[in-house]
């Protein structure tokens, strides 16, 4: 029994002692998926890299925030923001009404991007009745579910591509910016096919609804990046020369 008591005591001490260090500056934890190149990915040095890393670091500099990067599975990325494990979601997340009910978004830092289908070269895809892959909890997944096609969901973006390659799905529906690299690298094995689908708004940073102060700071920083053209330049750099007019 004494052992148990001292264990609990040590635990309580640990729990409270961590409060002794005071926070220097305003530190913000940036949450991302780390599996969606070129938006965000883990590079070979084990660091978060990509378009959103550069945008995020620049935003933090302009808003005078100390930022650290954390990765989280896409599936639980919103619940973990809401429970306070990190302070922002910067993970290629389109601004939708459904998500806006649960969290708040800053203004967009990437314009609405039509989603596109990718299939094996020469495949004949039935977009309204075939088997289409998408990542779970994405705007593409809800679109397919309503289109009449058979939806197969995967937890990671990687798995959706693998499903098309091994024939489990006829095609994958995802953001064009993500698919472009994969199509280019596949050496003709995978091709864009069918119509582009315009769904979702632009991409914004998700913040807790109670965190208006952080949202304000990030909004101001995004505006300043739009005003001096740095955001346009970063989009062109990471998305194959894509032209935007912010």
């Amino acid at each position: 029994m004494t052992n148990m008591k001292s264990f609990l005591g040590a635990l309580a001490l640990g729990v409270f002692a961590a409060g002794a260090v005071s926070a220097a500056g305003h530190s913000v934890r940036m949450g991302t998926e780390g599996a969606y190149p070129p938006y965000n990915f883990i590079n070979d040095a084990g660091q978060v890299d990509g378009f959103e890393r550069e945008v995020g670091d620049e935003l933090c500099k302009r808003a005078a925030l100390e930022c650290t990067w954390v990765t989280n599975e896409w599936d639980s990325i919103i619940p973990n923001l809401v429970s306070g494990n990190y302070d922002t979601i910067i993970a290629g997340m389109s601004i939708t009404d459904e998500r806006d009910k649960v969290i708040d978004f800053t203004q967009e830092y990437y314009p609405p991007d039509p989603s596109a289908y990718v299939a094996l070269a020469g495949a004949d895809v039935d977009f309204n009745g075939g088997v289409i892959a998408a990542q779970a909890s994405t705007i593409q997944a809800s679109y397919i579910a309503e289109s009449g096609a058979m939806l197969v969901e995967f937890t990671s973006p990687d798995d959706t591509i693998a499903a098309v390659k091994n024939g489990e799905a006829d095609a994958v529906l995802a953001d064009r910016g993500f698919l472009a690299d994969i199509v280019k690298d596949s050496g003709g094995e995978l091709v864009f096919t069918g119509p582009d689908v315009a769904i979702g708004g632009g991409v914004g940073i998700g913040v807790r609804e109670s965190d208006g102060e952080l949202k304000g700071k990030l909004d101001a920083a995004i505006s300043s990046m739009k005003a001096d053209g740095t955001l346009n330049a970063l989009i062109a750099k990471w998305f194959d020369g894509k032209v935007t007019n912010y």
């Binding site: 409270f16 961590a18 969290i103 690299d181 994969i182 690298d185």
Partner: protein
């Protein structure tokens, strides 16, 4: 040599590829798994022993605690438990800290969907280095694993205590031992022989449950194998196609190796606890 991977070929490419920081993370995550096992096993045995003793206690309330613990925890799916316990513990800790450290803040902790505590009540602090966040997650994981597997261990040990032949205990009484002496000198030492098969099963299940660590945000071997194995476009320094099969094969060998070692150890334990017993 590894400065410009695009110029590498053959063996050199492989040498550089297999020593990237990301691969180092994979190798060190093996130790994360082993460390978890090393810390959590004594906790499981302690909880199991405590639970079993509580279940057999002469005091009704203590018995209820033991019964409640084993039947409730065993009845809930592991995965639910692993998601619930760490989040609940984390929020309880933060709530207490909020109450103590920020008593002047009047805003409610729950604001709609948001769980909001003051900055200095966060655990770990937002500004804390990443290793502290990792260590904290690891501790929560240890607690969750210990609670779940402790409940199963309690049942195994309870069964083993019942399996010790009555005559052994009566012999203790006959030579005038106290209840306590009978328990520590006869009952508990003989119990292990009966508990071992059940505990070895539990250990194997625990080994295979360690990938659940990823649910708790701890990057274990399975996480890194999946991350490294996925197809890499030319954005990456070492582009390759989908290599998950290869990585998972390596995982298979790793887990089989752990199982093989475990069986050897359990064989020895069986000999040891069975020493001097006529079968």
């Amino acid at each position: 040599m590894c400065a410009d991977p695009s110029t590498l070929e053959g063996l050199n490419w492989w040498l550089c590829y297999l020593t990237t920081v990301k691969h180092m993370n994979l190798y060190t995550s093996v130790f994360t798994v082993l460390l978890l096992l090393a810390i959590v096993t004594p906790c499981i045995l302690a909880l199991g022993f405590g639970g079993a003793v509580a279940k057999r206690s002469a005091l009704m309330p203590v018995r209820w605690v033991g019964m409640g613990y084993t039947s409730m925890v065993r009845g809930v799916p592991d995965i639910v438990f692993f998601m619930f316990v760490p989040i609940a513990l984390d929020q309880v800790f933060e709530m207490i800290r909020h109450k103590v450290l920020c008593s002047d803040v009047t805003d409610p902790i729950w604001q709609g969907n948001d769980f909001v505590v003051c900055d200095i009540a966060k655990l770990p602090l937002n500004a804390a280095p990443q290793w502290q966040h990792d260590a904290y997650g690891f501790i929560l994981a240890v607690i969750a694993f210990a609670i779940v597997f402790g409940a199963f261990a309690a049942n195994v040990i309870d069964g083993a205590l019942k399996a010790v032949p009555k005559g052994q205990l009566e012999a203790g009484e006959a030579v005038g031992m106290t209840k306590r002496q009978i328990f520590t000198r006869i009952h508990a030492p003989q119990m292990w022989r009966y508990a071992l098969p059940g505990l070895s099963n539990l250990w194997m299940i625990l080994l295979k449950a360690t990938p659940l660590l990823f649910l708790l945000g701890i990057e274990d071997v399975v996480y890194w194998a999946r991350e490294l194995g996925g197809a890499k476009t030319s954005r990456f320094a070492y582009p390759h196609t989908d290599w998950r099969l290869g990585y998972f094969l390596a995982l298979l060998v790793f887990y089989l190796f752990l199982t093989w070692i475990s069986e050897k150890v359990f064989d020895r334990l069986k000999l040891r606890f069975g020493a001097g017993v006529a079968i």
